[in-house]
């Protein structure tokens, strides 16, 4: 695989995807660091994996289900659910506005 370089623009784009504020100096720093990391990762391309089934779950459990019922033990009360929020309104979380007032 050809050597991959992560550019400052790439970092900026990833920052948007990851919803993280990234300063100009961080963009520069991370671009260099990410390129190096990608380089180290690339070593695994030496391993032939054709025909191999990938593994995302390692202890062979499959289709673990539970009855589709409410389990009161794992349900938070409204007060508990809101207890960590800084900004609440009439029993709800206050989120950032995503629609313009005049939009239809």
């Amino acid at each position: 695989m050809a050597k991959i370089t992560i550019t400052i623009d790439d970092v900026a784009k990833i920052g948007v995807l990851a919803n993280l504020p990234v300063s100009e100096s961080e963009k520069k720093l991370f671009a260099g660091q990410f390129s190096k990391t990608i380089d180290v990762i690339g070593e695994f391309n030496e391993i032939d994996t054709s025909g191999i089934t990938p593994t995302s779950q390692v202890n062979h459990l499959e289709n673990v289900t539970r009855p589709d019922e409410i389990d009161p033990d794992r349900v938070l009360t409204q007060a508990e659910a809101l207890s960590g929020a800084k900004n609440v309104h009439q029993g709800f979380f206050v989120v950032k506005q995503i629609l313009e007032k005049d939009s239809e």
């Binding site: 990851a18 504020p21 990234v22 190096k36 990762i41 030496e46 659910a81 206050v94």
Partner: protein
């Protein structure tokens, strides 16, 4: 009893309580006094449990009334700060969760509390468990009790240092790849990583969900076995926990020799870059196990350098997904509070999962993971366990992680493969280099906890490497 309270293991404390040598209040006040004296130096605990003494009084009452029905009644315990604990702040060493109080209890701490344990406090760690140094903690690093100019390892650095400085009789850590065994090695104590799915991850602030494994850090293998028997087992709140029955591991430590046991010494884990003294200690350990009756054979496994890539991609991909939930809306502070290391990991994981790169990175990584698992399956057809160093060298100096964006992965090169495959592994002290402890890993197949603990216990019982730096 001639020993002081902080010199006793969990098993010895339980015996002392039964024999009425001291009360739970005596134990807890003794530890709180030590915390007051030594925590300001070492930065082991981020917070302490203000109700510990009241809970100790309750435990004494309970013992008077019911005796010793609960397996850990009155035992103080240190808990890594990524386990949700009701009434105790839980930060994962991050400013995002500064002053966060959980809404529910993790299964591990729930089981410990139900068993009668008393939480002394929450221990420092790499922020979000991202690292192998505890230097990425946003509340300052923990210092290694053996040399305060050095790092304790991580990410469970506070829990390992708590055991080394004897600021708790036993501690809870969590391992994604090396985060129990590596700090235990750098601090010269015993760490035990159960198989993936043996211990519930419910209420553990997630790092990489496909490898996260909670487990104990302890004075002795015997204590680690006891704690594991309490925290292990199926949990309806974590669908990846195994339905296999939990064994009373501490009661199964019966071996007096290793006759009939085959152990592999992995040649590729004696890295060319490793110091000769470390290699010698591992070879000495092999000889010792052989003298106990084990058959030792040198084997070759896939170069561990490949698992660095596999682990890095899987872990960062899962981190990017798991940490997406921290938006400061429902709890905690906003995403601007993430430190550098968390930002790097989230962003790299976002990249490896993004359109156009998913196949080249994530898909490739999980395919190589299958190769690593297959190799281990073949190895364990012939061997009961394999051994190697936990870490290529002893504890590194403070500041070693600066400008090293892959410090953790490199420090954990020898434990990455076992974590990727979800194996079980014990880390036990096996000697010293420059006065600093070195750890041996004894690693076995999935769900072979009983066998690995038994071998590790016999190794520990027949060697003399468990030492403690003086904090008196």
């Amino acid at each position: 009893m001639n020993k002081q309270i902080h010199e006793l293991s969990v098993i010895e404390l339980l015996r002392g309580l039964e024999d009425k040598h001291f009360s739970v209040v005596d134990i807890v006040s003794h530890y709180l006094d030590r915390l007051n004296r030594f925590n300001p130096i070492l930065n082991v605990y981020l917070s302490t449990n203000e109700n510990a003494l009241a809970q100790a009084k309750q435990a004494d009452e309970e013992i008077k009334k019911n005796g010793f029905i609960k397996p850990l009644i009155g035992i103080p315990i240190a808990v890594k700060d990524n386990f949700l604990t009701c009434g105790l702040p839980t930060t994962a060493s991050s400013l995002v969760l500064e002053e966060y109080y959980p809404q529910y209890e993790s299964t591990v701490t729930r089981r410990l509390l139900d068993a009668g344990a008393i939480i002394l406090g929450k221990t420092n760690m790499d922020a979000w468990a991202h690292g192998s140094s505890t230097e990425s903690s946003q509340y300052g690093p923990t210092l290694n009790p053996w040399d305060i100019g050095r790092l304790p390892g991580g990410s469970s650095g506070g829990s390992a240092a708590a055991i080394a400085a004897r600021l708790a009789p036993v501690a809870i850590g969590s391992e994604t790849s090396g985060s129990i065994r590596q700090p235990a090695a750098w601090c010269g104590v015993t760490g035990f990583k159960p198989s993936y799915g043996r211990v519930s991850r419910y209420g553990v602030i997630a790092m990489a969900s496909s490898t996260d494994s909670p487990g104990p850090i302890a004075r002795t293998v015997e204590d680690a076995a006891l704690i594991t028997s309490v925290i292990a087992g199926i949990d309806k709140y974590d669908a990846t926990t195994s339905p296999r029955e939990v064994e009373p591991y501490h009661q199964l430590l019966k071996r007096k020799d290793l006759k009939g046991i085959k152990i592999a010494l992995v040649k590729d884990y004696l890295l060319p870059s490793m110091r000769t003294e470390v290699k010698t200690l591992i070879q000495n350990a092999a000889k010792h196990l052989e003298s106990l009756g084990a058959k030792i054979e040198e084997i070759s496994l896939l170069d561990p350098k490949y698992s660095i890539g596999v682990y890095t991609v899987i872990q960062r991909s899962e981190v990017s997904s798991n940490l997406a939930r921290y938006d400061g809306i429902r709890f905690g502070h906003g995403r601007e509070s993430f430190g550098d290391e968390a930002k790097r990991r989230i962003m790299l994981g976002t990249y490896t999962l993004s359109t156009g790169y998913y196949d080249a990175y994530y898909k490739k990584a999980v395919a190589v993971r299958s190769k690593i698992i297959e190799e281990f399956e073949n190895t364990f057809k012939q061997f009961d366990a394999y051994i190697g160093a936990v870490s290529p060298g002893p504890a590194q100096k403070l500041g070693a992680t600066q400008n090293e964006s892959m410090f953790g992965e490199m420090a954990d090169v020898l434990v990455n493969p076992s974590s990727i495959a979800g194996l079980t592994s014990a880390g036990v002290p096996c000697g010293f280099v420059d006065g600093l402890p070195i750890g041996l890993q004894i690693t076995g197949n999935q769900f072979e906890e009983a066998k690995i603990l038994d071998i590790a216990n016999l190794y520990q019982q027949t060697t003399d490497f468990v030492k403690f730096p003086k904090y008196d």
